[in-house]
């Protein structure tokens, strides 16, 4: 049996066992079976990846089952294994396995653990179906499957109204993108008469310059197809306009945020654009759209990241922003760099989220950074892990010597944007540099607010609850009350997380530190074509240009990183009154950014409220007021007026009906007999 079958279907099997067994099975067996399945899948995935890195493996497809045959439209369940898939396999299974392990600790007190682990494994299965898809429809299956798992996991704590609202929002906003994806698939089928990805990619160049009508307008064929598909990618990868669900998705448990809303699912859009990069490459307009949207998103999300207080929201906006970088790379024709950033980002962003989870765990579910401070000494291992993640995301490194993961991947994106020498590339470059400054600022701001300075959690309600509970349960053997603690701790002493949570942090830290250094050669060097084996539109030429960029372009990311670090240090350590003064000075700007550019309010006003209003009016005015009034009720009224015997109509309808039918039939039969 091909190992890919086990990799994909073990998580499904485990999800079914844990989910259906649920409370009957018990916590530990459900957790064990899912976690073991994921570690097995992970162990099977790495050899595949390594064999592609060393150049020994050949792409192949494993057929599983027919799916749909309808005229010339036919597609199967099949698992494609090539370089793209191999990269995603290790990302998905590694992060997922570690998140499963982490959840043993994080979810330890939750009453619904089997359900949680079943959802996690179900998610992993859907994600694996997505990345192994050989046709667009199976990709859509995975796409929707991860959407379902995301919905279930965001709403995992379904008692909380905010969690179930966030879950619906995530699903519905994604569906807007999905409509684009579906229309893109229909269009692709119409043009190419197939939905098989390899066939489409081969034939896409022949459609250059052709036109097609869509919604009554004439378009360049490949432009409209790519843009429609990209709308799907924008939904899943939370790009500007369809991003509003991602920050709200933080309502889900933190391991979920790490796995789904940072490392894997949200990168599906990037994966799709890279997988179809030979198709996108045919349309310059589509590539520009991808670049501009990515560039706008990376800047927009980074600005919001600088103002948020909730530790998870900062990281969520950071994710949104980093996804923008990946789209810029894909848009300027460097899908290799996009995939590389996807790869490194998975490790360091999962690390940051799991680290944040460890902080939240230590702080008794307090997520507001205003109530943190001075945690470095309390939870040193978490601090070290978060440092590794921060160094990786801000991209610390010395050219040609060593750098943390983000150094290689983010810098290569900026170089590619610069080297592409197009207007959109320039825009992407400058936006990227600006956002790199903001990234460095908000990342260090997070570190300083959380781990440095003095403890500030005495005012936190969550911590007060914890202290109060401890006292209430008779653990007040310290013999002192709140008043004695003027050090800001209120007597609460955060403790380091248990081992199952720390091991993933250590493993992911290794990834955050070394992943860039080890794999940059395979992904983005001149020899990258060997590695990718045609699974993406890899341009050797662009790589040459990237290496030839001016020295200042190579050093610019480092410069803005240092500037961001310095600003954050100055504002949050050296002169902590500065941010408040800044906010007072630029109140309007801060309000605008802090309120996330008012997208939620705008959408509420434009779509949500009108939908409910229209629904109400269509119902009460249309169906009841118009159709019923002049239709059946009107008819009844006429009949009643005519016969003056409403009762006959109301109770005798059955007989009159039967009578009409009988009369009709008699007429019919006599007609036939006469002829």
């Amino acid at each position: 049996m091909d190992p890919i079958l086990l990799i994909v279907f073990l998580p499904l099997l485990a999800a079914a066992i844990a989910g259906l067994g649920n409370r009957a099975l018990g916590n530990v067996p459900a957790k064990a079976v899912t976690t073991l399945a994921l570690f097995a899948a992970c162990a099977l995935s790495w050899p595949i990846f390594i064999s592609f890195v060393s150049g020994h493996a050949e792409p192949h497809v494993v057929q599983v089952l027919h799916w749909v045959r309808s005229g010339s439209l036919s597609f199967d369940w099949a698992l494609r294994v090539d370089t793209m898939t191999a990269v995603m396999l290790v990302v998905v299974t590694t992060v997922s396995a570690l998140v499963h392990l982490y959840s043993w600790g994080y979810m330890d007190e939750d009453p619904d653990q089997p359900r949680f682990f079943a959802y996690l494994s179900l998610f992993t299965f859907a994600m694996l179906m997505l990345v192994t898809a050989d046709n667009l429809v199976q990709m859509f299956f995975g796409w929707e499957g991860v959407g379902l798992a995301s919905y279930l996991l965001i709403g995992f704590w379904f008692r909380k109204p905010s969690a179930s609202a966030a879950a619906i929002k995530a699903f519905v906003v994604n569906r807007v993108g999905d409509l684009g994806f579906m229309l893109g698939i229909f269009g692709t089928y119409l043009v190419f008469n197939t939905v098989s990805i390899p066939e489409i990619l081969v034939r896409a160049p022949s459609m250059a310059g052709s036109t097609i009508h869509f919604l009554g307008m004439q378009w360049d064929t490949m432009t409209i197809l790519c843009v429609l598909l990209f709308i799907g990618a924008m939904g899943k990868s939370a790009q500007l306009g369809l991003h509003t669900w991602l920050p709200d998705a933080m309502e889900g448990p933190t391991p979920v945020s790490a796995l789904i809303h940072a490392a894997t699912m949200v990168t599906a859009g990037v994966f799709m654009v890279c997988r179809l990069s030979p198709m996108f490459a045919v349309s310059e307009t589509a590539m520009n759209v991808v670049t501009y949207v990515g560039a706008a998103t990376l800047f927009f999300a980074a600005t919001i990241g600088t103002t948020q207080w909730d530790i998870k929201r900062v990281i969520a906006y950071s994710t949104c922003s980093q996804l923008g970088y990946m789209f810029v790379a894909a848009g300027v024709g460097a899908p290799g760099a996009a995939m590389f950033h996807l790869f490194t980002h998975a490790f360091f962003k999962a690390l940051l989220f799991l680290g944040a989870g460890s902080v939240i765990h230590a702080m008794h579910h307090e997520q507001d950074m205003r109530y943190y401070g001075g945690l470095a000494r309390k939870i040193p291992l978490t601090y070290a892990a978060m440092m590794a993640g921060t160094l990786a995301i801000t991209g610390l490194g010395i050219v040609d010597v060593f750098g943390f993961a983000g150094f290689y991947s983010k810098d290569s994106i900026l170089e590619a944007a610069y080297a592409s020498a197009s207007d959109s590339g320039r825009f992407g470059f400058w936006m990227g540099i600006t956002a790199a400054l903001l990234t460095s600022f908000y990342s260090w701001r997070l570190i300083f607010l959380t781990f440095h300075g003095k403890p500030r959690w005495a005012q936190s309600e969550h911590v007060q609850h914890a202290v109060h509970d401890a006292h209430g349960h008779g653990h007040d053997d310290h013999g002192h009350g709140h008043a004695h603690h003027d050090d800001g701790t209120a007597g609460y002493h955060p403790h380091e997380s248990p081992l199952p949570m720390l091991i993933p942090l250590v493993v992911l830290s290794l990834g955050a530190v070394f992943a860039g250094w080890v794999f940059s050669h395979s992904f983005i060097s001149e020899g990258g074509g060997e590695f990718w084996k045609g699974s993406i539109a890899f341009s050797e030429e662009l790589i040459h240009h990237m290496h030839a960029v001016p020295t200042w372009v190579k050093w610019a990311p480092f410069g803005v990183m240092a500037l961001g670090l310095f600003t954050a240090w100055y504002a949050y350590i050296r002169n902590p009154r500065l941010p408040a003064a800044f906010v007072e000075q630029f109140g309007v700007v801060h309000q605008f950014v802090f309120n996330k550019w008012y997208f939620d309010e705008l959408y509420n006003f434009l779509f949500v409220r009108p939908a409910f209003w229209l629904g109400d009016k269509f119902w009460k005015w249309g169906d009841i007021g118009l159709i019923d009034r002049f239709g059946p009720n009107g008819a009844a009224w006429v009949v009643a007026q005519g016969s003056r015997a409403a009762k006959v109509v109301q109770s005798g309808y059955l007989y009159s009906y039967a009578l009409v039918m009988l009369l009709g039939l008699t007429a019919a039969i006599s007609w036939v007999m006469v002829h």
Binding site: N22, H66, W67, V68, S70, G71, L73, W77, F140, F141, W143, E144, G145, L148, Y151, G155, R159, S164, I168, V172, R175, L179, M182, L183, F186, L190, P205, S206, A208, G209, S210, L215, G216, D220, V282, E284, T285, A611, F612, L614, G615, D616, F618, W619, G622, G631, P632, A636, V649, S651, Y653, L654, Y657, V660, M661, G664, L665, A668, I669, V672
Partner: protein
């Protein structure tokens, strides 16, 4: 036996119905369950013996009765699938009727009679026989709503009656004319008869009046929410599961093959009504407080996907529509069962009276979630396959129709998840709802088989597509004479190098 298996399938429930009228409640339940299970078993035999790729009409039987009126039965793959749907849902309906306490014998008799008539509709090959089955099939439904229905049952069944009456009179007149013109009542012959194009238009409109009401299409849909709300659970299941499919069956068996030119001529009427239906009824579903009304309105939206697919005049559209019909029959049936399960416990359909059911009814929450997702059209469930093929079919004719009908994908998610959230998520704010017990073994037995088929149809729809393939291909060939041109107007691609200097202009136009 195989020569008369269709007659046998009609006879078994009819006999059961007769027996039910004369025995006590408990025995009536047993008889009804036995009769429907026997019919289900016969259905399996039928499917098993149906030769895929064999003759177009199978299991034909014919007996002259009187005056040119004949007992002619026979099925193709399309009818086969709809018969399977009917016999599959019937035993489940009997199981779902445990809460019926009044006049059980008559109730069971009405259901069994309806089963006979439903199978009759799908297997009739004589025009008048079809007409009788088609119209008479609604009589047991009137009774079920009118006698065992809710408080407003009289108004609901009256509305149901009034709408159907108009359509059936017009259809009957059209049938008389057709028989006069073609000189036969044989449906297979009529399906190949070429009526004059002008006459086709009048005939098409007359049939449309009947089928549009059954479907139901906007704006003749307002009987459906009331009928569903008032009907007992099993009545809703059959209404949504099978009776609504008669409209679609009518289109695919009569309107399309008998009047292809007229169908093409009026396709835009169908598209317009369907597009309005998707948007309007989805939005209406969003604001409903009554669970059954919400699902009823969602049915109208789903049936609109069926009609756009049917009038796409291509294989994907037709096959997609058939799968949507089968899927909707299962899924909306299951959703009405889900409503029935909690209605039986709390006796209210008011959504706000529930909440947090995931806590005390986890099994229920799981199955309800599955059916919700199938209704939303999640890939892997039956809902997706049909919706996807249908929309893929219509896209080839008009991207506008595909786009507007596609908004149902977004709105459907909104109203179904909003419903699910209010029922199953949140705190347990009502003590009586919080005290409800999880699914009983009987209820699991009702819902689990449907769940299994929903997944089966989603993962391997080939089982369901294969029997219909040849019939749909025949229909597609028949329709090709009137096939409309798509609006895509694809121009040929030019080699990239040659087109390089023209590209800026092309892209300029694209903005």
């Amino acid at each position: 036996m195989l020569n008369h298996i269709l007659s046998l399938m009609l006879l078994v429930p009819l006999l059961g119905a007769a027996i039910c009228l004369f025995v006590d409640a408990k025995a009536a339940r047993t008889v009804a369950l036995a009769a429907t299970l026997i019919d289900f078993a016969l259905g399996i035999v039928l499917w098993n013996q149906y030769e895929v790729g064999g003759p177009r009409w199978q299991f034909q039987e014919s007996a002259e009765l009187f005056a040119g009126f004949s007992w002619k039965l026979g099925i193709d793959g399309i009818a086969l699938m709809l018969i399977e749907l009917s016999v599959f849902l019937m035993p489940i309906c009997i199981l779902a009727s445990a809460s019926i306490k009044k006049r059980v014998g008559e109730y069971m008799a009405a259901f069994l009679l309806m089963e006979t008539l439903m199978i009759g509709v799908f297997s009739a090959q004589d025009l008048y026989l079809f007409y009788i089955m088609f119209e008479a099939g609604l009589i047991p439904m009137y009774l079920i709503i009118g006698i065992w229905g809710g408080a407003d049952r009289i108004y609901a069944s009256y509305k149901f009656f009034l709408y159907t009456l108009l359509g059936s009179v017009l259809m009957l007149i059209a049938m008389l004319w057709m028989v006069h013109e073609a000189g036969t009542t044989d449906i297979p012959t009529l399906m190949e008869y070429n009526f004059p194009v002008e006459a086709q238009k009048w005939l098409w409109l007359a049939f449309f009046a009947s089928f549009a009401v059954k479907m139901p299409m906007w704006p003749v849909h307002t009987w459906l929410p009331d009928a569903h709300v008032q009907a007992p659970t099993a009545g809703s299941v059959i209404l949504a599961g099978v009776l609504l499919k008669m409209g679609g069956y009518g289109f695919i068996r009569f309107s399309l093959p008998m009047f292809p030119e007229a169908s093409a001529h009026f396709a835009w009427l169908v598209f317009a009504l369907s597009m309005i239906a998707v948007v309007v009824t989805s939005l209406i579903a969003l604001v409903q407080h009554d669970m059954k009304k919400l699902i009823a309105y969602s049915s109208v939206a789903h049936m609109a996907i069926v009609t756009v697919g049917l009038f796409a005049f291509n294989v994907q559209g037709l096959e997609g529509s058939m799968i949507v019909m089968l899927s909707h029959g299962l899924v909306s049936g299951a959703l009405f069962l889900c409503v029935g399960v909690i209605y039986d416990r709390l006796h209210t359909r008011e959504i706000d009276r529930y909440g947090g059911l995931s806590i005390n009814m986890p099994k229920y929450a799981l199955l309800f979630m599955l059916f919700t997702m199938a209704s939303v059209g999640l890939p892997g469930t039956s809902g997706f396959v049909g919706e996807f093929l249908s929309l893929a079919g219509i896209y080839q004719v008009s991207s506008w129709v595909a786009f507007v009908a596609g908004t149902g994908v977004i709105l459907g998610a909104a109203y179904m998840l909003y419903l699910y959230r209010r029922v199953a998520f949140g705190e347990q704010k009502n003590a009586d709802a919080a005290a409800m017990t999880d699914l009983s073994a009987r209820e699991v037995l009702m819902l689990a088989p449907i769940a299994a088929v929903v997944l089966w149809m989603g993962v391997y729809p080939e089982s369901f597509l294969a029997p219909m393939r040849q019939d749909i291909a025949t229909l597609d060939a028949r329709l090709s004479q009137a096939k409309p041109e798509g609006d895509a107007k694809l121009t040929a691609g030019k080699p990239k190098a040659a087109a390089a200097h023209e590209e800026p202009a092309q892209h300029g136009g694209a903005h």
